[in-house]
């Protein structure tokens, strides 16, 4: 086969697939952010720390209680989601009437505190978390060696992303949620408990971050800094996709993963900045993001 842009097709396919896998992480994380922003109008800067907590709680379950990966996928989102609910009830709900900026600053502060606490307790080098036995090894696809675990991550992310999109855009519960953000007083008058719905939505967004953390633990080092490293990129994804747009964050998450993967082949030095370059271009052309509605 002839080379494509000077790269053997096998290598290129391999890179595309890797990009897709990274995109899965971006999509899952930005989805949680989009849900929280779209429905609550909070720019949740704690998201990265909550993702990191997810990975750490999975590690604690395994090393302190002997609870393995599969149970962690279930238990971690619930426990970390509960801490999210606690944060929402005690702090965030006081800010809803104020400007977005206050929520952003508060969540940013909370993120720094959580990160500091974990760093004090666990140090900065990170902790090991192995790939579960059932997903070890890999498959030779001809053009690349595909670790089974990465394949699993892509499938799970797609399922979770589409399910979330479906619930919010296509079900009755979702329509209540969307209505509540537009006109809470009206929805309340129908007998729906809007504050509780908002609390649960925030908890769900946090649970998504924690779930992603569990998925990430076997691939990346479980470290207090893992959320801080990723959160800025994920915010860029959300901005490009359009703040609050569910489908936008899913599609741009996967798309940017692929673009970043290709940059790593053609010009690796720029791979950490390419997303921000795209962000600037998108903001200049379409300030509300690719899929965003002007508010």
């Amino acid at each position: 086969m002839p080379d494509i842009f000077g790269i053997p097709p096998q290598a290129l396919f391999g890179q595309l697939l890797l990009g897709l896998i990274n995109g899965a992480f971006y999509a899952l994380l930005s989805l949680g952010l989009a849900v929280i922003f779209g429905l609550l109008n909070i720019i949740n800067f704690t998201h990265g720390a909550q993702y990191m907590m997810g990975a750490f709680v999975a590690w604690m379950l395994l090393n302190w209680l002997g609870v393995g990966y599969w149970w962690a996928l279930l238990i971690v989102p619930v426990t970390v989601g509960l801490t999210g609910i606690l944060i929402e009830r005690t702090m965030l709900h006081r800010l809803y009437k104020l400007d977005h900026l206050y929520g952003l600053l508060l969540t940013f502060g909370i993120a720094l505190i959580i990160q500091g606490l974990f760093r004090n307790q666990f140090g900065s080098s990170g902790l090991p978390y192995g790939i579960p036995a059932q997903l070890r090894g890999g498959t030779d696809l001809g053009f690349m060696f595909m670790p089974n675990y990465r394949g699993w991550v892509v499938v799970v992310s797609l399922v979770v992303c589409l399910a979330t999109w479906f619930v919010i855009e296509k079900t009755k519960l979702g329509s209540y949620l969307r209505a509540a953000t537009e006109n809470p007083a009206l929805v309340q008058s129908f007998g729906i408990n809007v504050p509780r719905m908002i609390t649960l939505t925030y908890g769900f967004g946090v649970a998504l971050a924690a779930f992603t953390g569990v998925l990430a633990a076997p691939i990346y080092q479980v470290s207090p800094l893992m959320g801080a490293d990723l959160i800025i990129i994920v915010f860029a994804v959300v901005v490009i996709g359009g703040m609050g747009s569910i489908m936008g964050s899913i599609l741009t998450g996967f798309g940017l993963g692929i673009i970043e993967g290709l940059t790593k082949v053609f010009y690796p030095e720029a791979s950490s900045t390419v997303i921000f370059v795209i962000m600037v271009i998108v903001l200049l052309i379409k300030p509300a993001g690719l899929f965003g509605r002007a508010r």
Binding site: P8, A11, G14, Q15, L18, G19, I21, N22, G116, R119, G123, S124, S125, G126, L127, P128, G130, I131, G137, G138, M144, F145, P147, Y149, R150, P218, I219, Y220, Q221, S223, L225, M226, D229, L230, G261, K264, V265, P268, E269, S271, S272, T273
Partner: protein, 403 residues
């Protein structure tokens, strides 16, 4: 009555004056400048402060008429923050010596300030061999290791055992470039070949693209010219992609024991690296590690901690001899003139260019079945004698040498 009182007071005052010369005190203030909040915290950080304090205690400073004070600060891995702290410490807080400073960029900045203020800078955490090369200073001693020693130790050993084709995965900043260049030179000088390399941005999360490129290069050795979290993630993901199982080997050019602890033996086994110190070397190092870990949340000492301890100890000996910490250049001259001898590095010397000379070691990470417990991680593959471990004096282009 009044008279009696003043006589008494006078007598007391006289007695106090008479007693004072018996304990003529020299004051020393030591600043531990380190990374207290980011990726190098475990390998240096609070452990370095602890190591410096342990050195003062073990030296018996108080009994020898030395009053040692400590301050510490976080340089946040930013050269401007680091040099500002150094300037403030020297100008305002009366600090006489700065020790540690992981991160080559920050260390080079502090190196300049220290020379300007004629104080003392003892480097343990930073790697760049420029500190004893073109940027060497009469006020600086580079204690523990440097990029040349790492390249020489690991590179040589691997090429000599058949790893003659290399591909580099390099952190895209000064430290990575220097380490790649130093190692390439060693590989080529021994008849090996460098097939290619890729430069990854600092703090990359996902190395799989780069690892695939390394894989398709078909080089026998993938040299990791990076550090901290980047090294850890690249090793972890190499295992995931079965790179080692499929016949290529990883060479960690800068790996600390805290990284191995973070990776776990399952992932890190078989990795070869060069270090200046391992806690389980001899009775003295074990005794030190036991005391150290007890006060440091169980984290065992890295070679950086050992270097902070040993360099502080040697510094205090020089202060005892010179009886003053004021003239940094004179203190460093005294340090160079005195052969070094401490429980962790044994006997050694400090060269004219400020390079501390001691043996280096080539370690291999144990298999999980060989390890007897937490922190039992290394077996020694080879000892690199002091005379060969560091860059020859004449090759460094240090202006202090020659003439």
């Amino acid at each position: 009555m009044k008279r009696l009182k003043s006589v008494l007071l006078g007598a007391v005052a006289l007695a106090a004056v008479a007693a004072a010369p018996a304990v003529a005190q020299t004051n020393v203030k030591i600043g531990v400048l380190s990374d207290m909040s980011s990726l190098y915290t475990d390998l240096a950080g609070a452990g370095s402060v602890l190591a410096a304090r342990m050195a003062a205690d073990d030296f018996g400073a108080a009994a020898k008429g030395l009053r040692v004070e400590f301050v510490s600060a976080d340089h946040q891995n930013k050269a401007d923050v680091g040099s500002n702290i150094a300037r403030q410490w020297y100008d305002r807080d009366g600090v006489d010596m700065i020790v540690d400073v992981p991160n080559s960029g920050v260390a080079l900045a502090v190196n300049g300030v220290t020379r300007e203020k004629n104080k003392v800078f003892l480097v343990s955490g930073a790697a760049t061999s420029a500190l004893t090369g073109e940027q060497c200073s009469p006020n600086t001693v580079h204690w523990t290791y440097d990029t040349w020693a790492l390249a020489n130790g690991t590179g040589k050993a691997i090429v000599q055992t058949g790893g003659d084709t290399w591909f580099f995965l390099t952190a895209d900043y000064a430290f990575g470039h220097q380490l790649e260049a130093d190692t390439s030179n060693v590989v080529k000088s021994l008849g090996g070949r460098v097939l290619g390399g890729v430069r990854a941005p600092l703090n990359t999360n996902d190395f799989s693209s780069f690892l695939l490129q390394a894989q398709s290069s078909r080089a026998k050795i993938i040299g990791l010219a990076n550090a901290g979290g980047d090294t850890v993630n690249s090793i972890k993901q190499a295992a995931e992609f079965g790179i080692v199982k499929r016949g290529q080997s990883l060479a960690g050019l800068l790996v600390f024991i805290t990284d191995v602890h973070g990776l776990g033996l399952d992932t890190a086994q078989g990795l070869i690296m060069t270090e200046a110190f391992y806690w389980d070397q001899n009775d003295a190092s074990r005794a030190f590690a036991k005391r150290f870990a007890a006060a440091n949340k169980g984290i065992h000492p890295t070679m950086v901690h050992a270097g902070v301890y040993a360099s502080t100890l040697h510094y205090l000996k020089a202060i005892e001899a010179t009886k003053s910490a004021a003239d940094g250049k004179a203190v460093v001259e005294k340090m160079k003139a005195t052969p070094t001898d401490d429980p962790l590095f044994g006997k050694g010397e400090i060269r004219k260019d400020g390079r501390k000379i001691h043996d280096m070691y080539l370690y291999e990470v144990k298999q999980p079945s060989e390890s007897k417990g937490a922190w039992d991680y290394y077996k020694t593959r080879a000892t690199i004698p002091a005379a060969q471990a560091f860059r020859p004096l004449a090759e460094g282009k240090c202006p202090l040498v020659g003439g």
